[in-house]
Each structure stands twice: as structure tokens, then as C-alpha cells.
């Protein structure tokens, strides 16, 4: 055979460099394939995106309530900025791996991914990420229209905006890993996505999608703001619109990292155990 054999690569530094190079090429190839798929699915993606416009509904509600004066430290314009940012953050940190995993485990379609020498979760991760340009392309005009109608947005300072990409990446990774954890339950349960509905219910209330978490009553707000829901949405939103500063930013990033470590360890353990009980139904 013309290909280099695995044996010839060895486990030394050269072998590791080759493995890294190969991984980068696989990621690139998965990205290209997934982007082509996302373009092919653009209409269904738009439809799905319209079902995640909850922050815009919240915007209409809270902006209306704030007509008579600020609520807490949020004036009408603050609500507009907050919820438009929340809408866009939700778009860029979206994942749907829970449904994909559940359906593939139940139908046995996971088998074809398991037969490739590439981790199936890398495949799913790239599928989610490659849809990003399409999602942003579809979501950005909606955000811009809302902002123009509502009169603009106040962004955070340069420092906050510099770390915002890191916060967004961490938020996506938390969302992805939570979904992998729940999706993996399909190895044992018949309908793990029903459990995800519970997660989504809590997420809508506790993440900041329904109202900024800082507006919760004192005591409760402190608790809500350390939960993973806030780390996945509220924190990056507040960072972008300049609602957190200095040590609060460091604390928010640390909490995100902590939740990510926890969920990724759990997802790895569930995946490893799940694959061992996988029934691979169907021929």
C-alpha cells in the first residue's frame, strides 16, 4: 500500500507531530464537509433559529415594562442591548448534538461514525461549529434590524471585548459538553432528549435569557450567577455589553472554566461507558 503505515510513525516527537498534523487535516476536512451540509440545510437552519428567539420575546416584554422607568439598574435601552446580545450569543453558542446523539444511538446510525478512526464527538463538534458562519449570517441581520429600531447598543470596554471571544468559546464548549452528557444517556435510556427539555426549561429561567440574572432578588442572584446556565449565556452577554468589570471578569471566566472541566470530565466518562453498552441496533 502506498500510505505510510502506523508502525512507521512511531510514538516519538516525530510521530506526535505527525498525529497533530493529521488531526488538523481531519478537522479541516470535517469543517469543509460540515459547512457544505450547513449550506444545504440553510432553510431548516433558519426555521430552527426562529425557534430560539426567546431573548427577543423577553426584549419586547422588559423594554415595555421599562418604559415607565428603569428596573433595577436596567433602563429601556439597556434591556435592548442586553437581549439583542443574548440573542446573538445564543446563536453563536448553539449546539444540537443532544438530538443527533440520541437519534444515532437509538437507531444504530452511530455505528458508521464509530467505524471511522476519528472520534465521533469531533465529527459532531465540527458539524456544530461549521454551521456557525451560516447561523451568524442569518442571525446578524435580525440583530441589526432590532438594534436600528431600538436605537443602538452600548458595548463593553476594550478589555472586556478582548476576552469576549474566549468567553464565547467557553460558553459553546459548556453547552456542547452538557448536551453530550445528556445525549449519552441514550445509551441507557430510551428518550434522553426529554431530560434535555428539563435542562432547557431551567436554562431559559436561570441563564439570563428571560431576564438579566442580576435582577434576581439579592441572595438568589448570587446563587444563580454561579450556575452553569449563567456561564453559558448570561456572563458572555454581560461581558459584551460592559456589565462586568475587572475581578468580575476573571471570576466569570474561572467559573466557566470550572464548569467546562466538570462537564467535559462527565461527558468523557459517560461516552466511554456508553460505547461499551452500545447495542448497535440495525443491520
Amino acid at each position: 500500500m502506498a500510505e505510510r503505515s502506523d508502525m512507521s510513525r512511531g510514538a516519538g516527537p516525530e510521530g506526535q507531530a505527525f498525529a497533530r498534523g493529521h488531526l488538523a487535516r481531519v478537522i479541516g476536512a470535517l469543517w469543509r464537509l460540515s459547512l457544505a451540509e450547513a449550506v444545504a440545510y440553510r432553510v431548516s437552519m433558519l426555521m430552527w433559529m426562529l425557534t430560539t428567539t426567546f431573548p427577543l420575546v423577553s426584549l419586547a416584554l422588559w423594554a415595555g415594562l421599562a418604559e415607565g422607568g428603569p428596573i433595577g439598574d436596567y433602563a429601556r435601552a439597556d434591556f435592548v442591548g442586553y437581549f439583542v446580545a443574548a440573542f446573538l450569543v445564543r446563536q453563536v453558542t448553539a449546539s444540537w448534538v443532544v438530538w443527533e446523539l440520541e437519534s444515532q444511538i437509538r437507531s444504530g446510525d452511530l455505528s458508521t461514525l464509530l467505524m471511522r478512526p476519528v472520534h465521533p464527538l469531533l465529527h459532531h463538534g465540527m458539524q456544530n461549529l461549521a454551521a456557525l458562519p451560516v447561523r451568524v449570517g442569518l442571525a446578524a441581520p435580525i440583530g441589526v434590524v432590532v438594534l436600528v429600531l431600538a436605537g443602538g447598543i452600548e458595548l463593553g470596554g476594550a478589555g472586556a471585548l478582548l476576552v469576549a471571544p474566549a468567553a464565547l468559546v467557553l460558553a459553546w464548549l459548556i453547552t456542547f459538553n452538557v448536551q453530550v452528557c445528556i445525549g449519552c444517556l441514550a445509551f441507557w435510556l430510551t428518550a434522553s432528549s426529554s431530560l434535555f427539555e428539563v435542562w432547557i426549561g431551567l436554562y431559559l429561567v436561570l441563564s439570563g435569557a428571560a431576564l438579566p440574572t442580576s435582577l434576581y432578588p439579592p441572595g438568589l442572584a448570587e446563587v444563580v450567577r454561579v450556575l452553569p446556565f449563567h456561564a453559558a449565556l448570561g456572563f458572555p452577554v454581560e461581558l459584551i455589553i460592559g456589565r462586568v468589570h475587572g475581578p468580575e471578569i476573571a471570576r466569570g471566566l474561572a467559573l466557566q472554566a470550572l464548569w467546562l472541566v466538570g462537564f467535559s470530565a462527565l461527558s468523557r466518562a459517560l461516552w466511554r461507558r456508553g460505547v461499551r453498552v452500545y447495542g448497535a441496533v440495525g443491520a
Partner: protein
Amino acid sequence: MSTVVCVEGLSKRFTVPRREAGLRAALRALVRRETREVEAVRELSFSLAPGERVGFLGPNGAGKTTTLKMLAGLLVPSAGEVKVAGHTPSERRPEFLRRVSLVMGQKRQLSWDLPALDTFELNRVVYEIDAATFRRRLDELATLLEVGEVMRRPVRQLSLGERMKCELVAALLHAPQVLFLDEPTIGLDVAMQLGVREFIRRYNVEHGATVLLTSHYMEDVAALCPRILVIDEGRLRFDGSIEALRREIRPLRRVSVRADALPPEAELAAIGRVVEKEGGRLVLDVEPGRVPSAVQTLVALPGAQDLAVHDAPLEEVMRALFGRAEEARG
């Protein structure tokens, strides 16, 4: 003899939920979930040499697909040992996955809304196939399977047969050393079945790959596999050639003839067992040693024509084998 697949005492048990029909049973299952153990594969042992083409036969639920999935690393065995190309499949190491391929008639690896060519390109990178080798193999496979244009159309627009051919290309681009085929011709028309069958044979001969195949179509197995493994209720019932199986289960040869006038039943009984006697057509099952004399007698019939001697059809052999196993179980 060197082996590429070695299976020793392989078993697989599944725990499956069990409940009666009806609302009462459904409510009871909420409180107390009953399960039972199903032994899908029991202490299976066999080995395959490099380059062998082996058919895996058995009735529905015999454990064929479960075994294939354990060999491919999709299922973890409950007991026993499996080595494929020197690896333990359930560890699913990349070096193992690069050496094998599993084609399932009802599962697809091709991206549904994109041309198959896009998935081939992904596999080129995943399996680290250099560009020149990829082009050569793709040309070769596309020519053999006649999918030159087909692979440029979105997969969702392809017929079942075209899709299966593209699945085969995707599964073989990395030139696997061991090829597992689970019902590769299911749902295909006869012409397409023949095409896929011929392709598998050529691939095996030209690449020296080991092929293990399950199929409901006995013709697939009879035409492709010099050796068959027959399993029933998870146990190995037979391992050998189709001829050996026939000799063991249905040694009688089937002799058929057309004639203007047929001898009476009593006379025919002396030649062999009458299977069919209708109009001028006669079919007899004859002991192998008595075939020459039977042919002599039948060819001498008035207006004798279309005399033919066949082996018993494989379907009948299998029915007889499983019927025998049923009887043994009482």
C-alpha cells in the same frame, strides 16, 4: 496457517426489557421493570485466513450480525476472545479501524444532502491516503462499480443500488485488509445484486482482502464464498464448504427430465425419490452413486429432453439443517 480473524469462545448476552401487552402490564412495568437475558452468541470459535471469502449463514436472530459487530468492534463481547488483524476490536484503536471496513446494507456513512464524492474526500483525509493513490483507487472503484457520474449527485437523489455502490466505494477507499459485509445486496434488483457480488469477488482477488459476508440471498453466498459458517441460536452448526454441507445434509442429487411418457410411480421408486411429476416433467432425488444409471434410464424415455443433474438448492439444504436442529431440540 496464519489467521487474520481469530475467534475463541465468543459470547454475547443482552439484557432486554420484557412485559406483557396491555395497560395493566404497562403500569406494572412503571414500578417493576422486568428484564430477561438473551444469549445472542454462545461460545463461538473459528478463524479466517488472509484472503478468504467466507459466508455467514443462519436464520433471523441466529447471531450473525451480532457476531459481525463484535468483530468490527461495535459491540463488546460478554465472554471470549476476538483478534482481527492482530487487534482486539472492542478497543477500537485507530490502527485497527484503518485495517477493517464494515458495510451494512441499511446504514449509510455518506452525507445525505451532498454528493458521495464529498464523503470520499473526507475519508481520503481521515485514512491518510495520498492524493495519487486516492485518485487511482477512486478511478478503479468508480469504473468497476460504474458510479462515475452517480457519485457527483447528492446522495438523497440516488437509487438504493446506486447508493449501495457508493457506500462500497467509501468503505474500500482505504483498502481494508478485512471487509465485513452485512446484507450488502439487501433490497437490490437482480442485476444490481450480480454487479455488487462480482465486484466483491474482484476486490477480494485483487487486494487479497479477507471477506466475511452475511446475506439473506443464498445465491450471494453460494456464488461468492468457498467456505461457509452456519450459526443457529448463537451456536456454530457448520464450518466448511457448501459442497461438504450438501454432502452432509442433502447428499441426494436432483435429476430432472421432460419426456412424452413417464414410467409408473413403482418403477420410478427404484431410481430415486419423486419430488415432482406433472405433465411430461419429472424431478427425482437420486443417491449420488446411482446417478449414472438413473440418467441412462431417463434418457431412454420416449421423447426425453432437457435432462439435467443439480445439487440440492442451498435454501433446501439450510432448511433441512435447521429442521434437523429443531428436531434435536425437541
